[in-house]
């Protein structure tokens, strides 16, 4: 148990890995969402932001690899713990009535799988440009890529659905983070849920604003 490997094998240790990688990803999505909102300031603003992020290949790839490793560890912990949890009750009840668990908590796994599918789609869509329904992808014209693709209703809707999944995932995840890290205290406990809900709403609504605005014809 005193080895890093032993820690990562324990149920508590894997949850800590999930919490820390989750925290990193929450930090990322907050920054990503704020940057994205620059589309509302016009093509120069968002294209300039995109160019700035790609100015140093070293920084870009350090961030990309860190995020990929974080997502990988997060999913590894989620997957192995989920399998353990399911195996821990081989014979189920004829009847079990949930008393306390929230919808967000119960949808963590299925929402996580949806987020994974979204992450893959999103990278193929707006990072590599492999998926470009009905328009030409440009590596420098971020504004053009975003506006043209969200004019395709199913693309915009898929993004909106995925961000609703993120809303649920973060509502439980951020609250759960405090619990996993052992930060529980009567004074903190009254605001943990609020912190989680506010961040989750901010992030998801910030992201949703863009496809919604383009679909509604506000941005063109």
């Amino acid at each position: 148990m005193s080895t890093p490997l032993g820690f990562a094998q324990s149920t508590v240790g894997r949850k800590v890995i999930m919490a820390l990688t989750g925290l990193l990803l929450v930090g990322f999505v907050m920054g990503h969402m704020a940057g994205n909102l620059l589309v509302f300031n016009g093509p120069e603003a968002i294209n300039g932001w995109g160019a700035l992020l790609k100015r140093s290949a070293l920084v870009l790839w350090t961030v990309r690899i860190t995020l990929l490793v974080a997502v990988g560890l997060h999913i590894w912990a989620a997957l192995t713990l989920t399998r353990l949890n399911q195996a821990s009750r081989p014979v189920d009840y004829a009847r079990r009535v949930p008393q306390a668990s929230t919808l967000a908590a119960r949808l963590m796994r299925i929402g996580g799988v949806l987020l994974l599918a979204f992450i893959v789609f999103h990278l193929l869509h707006l990072t590599t440009g492999t998926i470009h329904p009905g328009y030409e992808f440009s590596h420098t014209d971020v504004y053009g890529n975003v506006v043209s693709s969200f004019q395709v209703p199913w693309v915009a809707l898929f993004y909106i659905v995925a961000m609703v999944a993120l809303l649920g995932h973060l509502t439980h995840g951020i609250w759960s983070f405090f619990q996993t890290m052992g930060w529980s205290h009567p004074r903190l406990d009254t605001i943990r849920r609020t912190i989680a809900t506010v961040i989750a709403l901010m992030v998801s609504l910030g992201f949703i604003a863009i496809p919604a605005a383009i679909l509604g014809g506000v941005l063109r």
Partner: protein
């Protein structure tokens, strides 16, 4: 009251089990759930059938022996009570009540509603104690205990080890039980010397027994007849994490020379 029971019957651990329907007639609303089962069992014995096996002892909510899943809820619909403290007035005349044993890989069914909860005992043996020096008893006031620590420790010590937390948890996790026991001693000055070893040992044993992990659903604390709080799980997570980081490898113990 007249009720229909659907009770899990399983002659032994190896045998296949199934839900069997029984009519429970002439039940008084003032009976406890276990007394109602006693009445049904008397009827079964008169008919020459095997009575329903269930665990019980004190019948006043302090020993932790009793506990069954009642209509999908551990210890039934009343908050803060064990099965033995549940009264039949919690039900309506004509109700159908489904009665099942605790379900967990770590709690194999022994017979009908009786499961083997010895994994909880082994978790205790892995660190749920304070080692004491022999000799004369120290003065009771020799060690100062902060009032808040004493109260939180007493809250955690209320756990009667019934296993309802495991039964109610969708992951069959024993975190609330283990956390209560880790906290109970970990909060007190007497528990400090073994605090790291206790958290590491008990969590490791909990994992070895084949319980699931915590996903913070909160079902355990709602089902708990003693209302053990989730704050204990947070404390155990913290104790385990710091202990795992601080622990020295076996070969590099504190003794200096190998």
């Amino acid at each position: 009251m007249n009720l229909t029971l659907k009770v899990w019957r399983q002659p032994s651990g190896e045998a296949r089990g199934r839900l069997v329907s029984y009519a429970a007639q002439g039940i008084s609303a003032d009976m406890s759930f276990l007394e109602m089962l006693d009445v049904v069992n008397e009827g079964l014995i008169e008919k020459g059938e095997e009575p329903i096996a269930f665990d019980h002892d004190c019948r006043e909510g302090i020993c932790g022996s009793c506990g069954v899943m009642i209509n999908g809820m551990a210890h039934g619909p009343m908050a803060g009570t064990a099965t033995c403290q549940l009264h039949m007035r919690s039900f309506q005349d004509g109700d159908t009540i489904v009665v099942e044993p605790w379900r967990a890989r770590a709690f194999p069914v022994l017979r009908d509603l009786v499961v083997d909860r010895s994994p909880l005992d082994r978790i205790m043996q892995a660190g749920g104690f304070v080692s004491i020096a022999t000799g004369n008893a120290p003065d009771a006031h020799a060690i100062l205990v902060p009032k808040e620590a004493a109260e939180l420790a007493m809250d955690a010590a209320q756990c009667i080890g019934c296993g309802a937390c495991v039964a109610a948890c969708p992951n069959a996790s024993a975190m609330l039980f283990t956390a209560a026991k880790v906290s109970h001693l970990g909060l007190l000055p007497q528990g400090q010397p073994e605090r790291d070893r206790r958290a590491l040992g008990m969590v490791t044993q909990m994992d070895l027994e084949g319980f699931g992990g915590c996903t913070n659903y909160g079902e355990c604390t709602t089902a708990c007849p003693k209302g053990i709080s989730l704050e204990n799980i947070a404390r155990m997570n913290r104790d385990f994490r710091t202990a795992a980081l601080r622990a020295r490898p076996e070969s590099a113990g504190a003794g200096g020379a190998p």
